[in-house]
Subunit: 156 residues, 2 copies
């Protein structure tokens, strides 16, 4: 890809995969965050919690964390903020009072229904650069590298 022969002692940042990927992912995230962060004033954690509850109502904090790849602490902060904003409601699970069951409020559901089509439209616009076949291919390539990355992470 370049004027320079890659060797073991040197690294050209713009050709380094983790760097390219981080820049790419940030730009994709920013394109979506402009929506939920702009007019709707949601943080990324809050957006993910809203998306989790829009998809499956009645989740506990831990289930929201699993759904959204957030730490339980981030979920706790996000649910506090969303409660305060009146976008969600919650109540204790009668059968195990350690669990809090969360769901969207009427206001939250209405925001969700306004936001989702906008967010999907941006995703679809970005993916319109690819054919259906290419999208499947991309998914598969990503999954294979992801598995290797998780291996490395676990080895420490």
């Amino acid at each position: 890809m370049g004027e320079r022969k890659p060797d073991d002692k040197q690294l050209v940042l713009r050709e380094f995969f983790p760097y390219r990927l981080a820049v790419f992912s940030n730009d994709v995230s920013r394109a979506v965050a402009q929506l939920y962060g702009g007019r709707f004033q949601l943080s990324r954690s809050e957006w993910r919690v809203l998306a989790a509850l829009g998809d499956s109502s009645g989740l506990s904090a831990k289930e929201i964390a699993d759904y959204s790849t957030l730490e339980k602490m981030q979920v706790s902060r996000a649910t506090s903020a969303l409660l305060k904003a009146g976008l969600i409601e919650r109540e204790e699970d009668e059968r195990d009072r350690r669990h809090l069951r969360h769901r969207l409020s009427k206001k939250g559901r209405s925001l969700y229904q306004e936001l989702i089509p906008l967010v999907r439209a941006r995703q679809d616009y970005m993916l319109s650069a690819l054919s259906d076949e290419e999208r499947t291919q991309l998914d598969e390539l990503i999954e294979r590298i992801h598995a290797k990355a998780l291996e490395l992470q676990q080895w420490g």
Copy 2:
């Protein structure tokens, strides 16, 4: 890919491209950050500045920013920390004293040369999941989506 038919009113987070990409990119970054963040105690900004100067010596702060996709402010903080740690040196450009020319110190060069092979090895391990052809394909697919993401970002 799913038990649920995608529609316009609902969104399943784990099937949403920007979310999947963010999780993927974070895991790839973490696999590399374990190296420079662990034994070498570098932040991500510091690692990028080190990589910039290891590749091209004598850069100004602005040139480092352009090279590394960092804000000039992050560069300023990173160079301060790297100076304090004795990993870089700098001096005024004689022809324009607004510019500071940065380079790795002997200690910084030695750290760079120790770090780069480790970092490359992790990249190569992750990419070993793909054939050469697939890597080229992945690069191309990413670039096409990236261009769309930048369009959206600029529109606001």
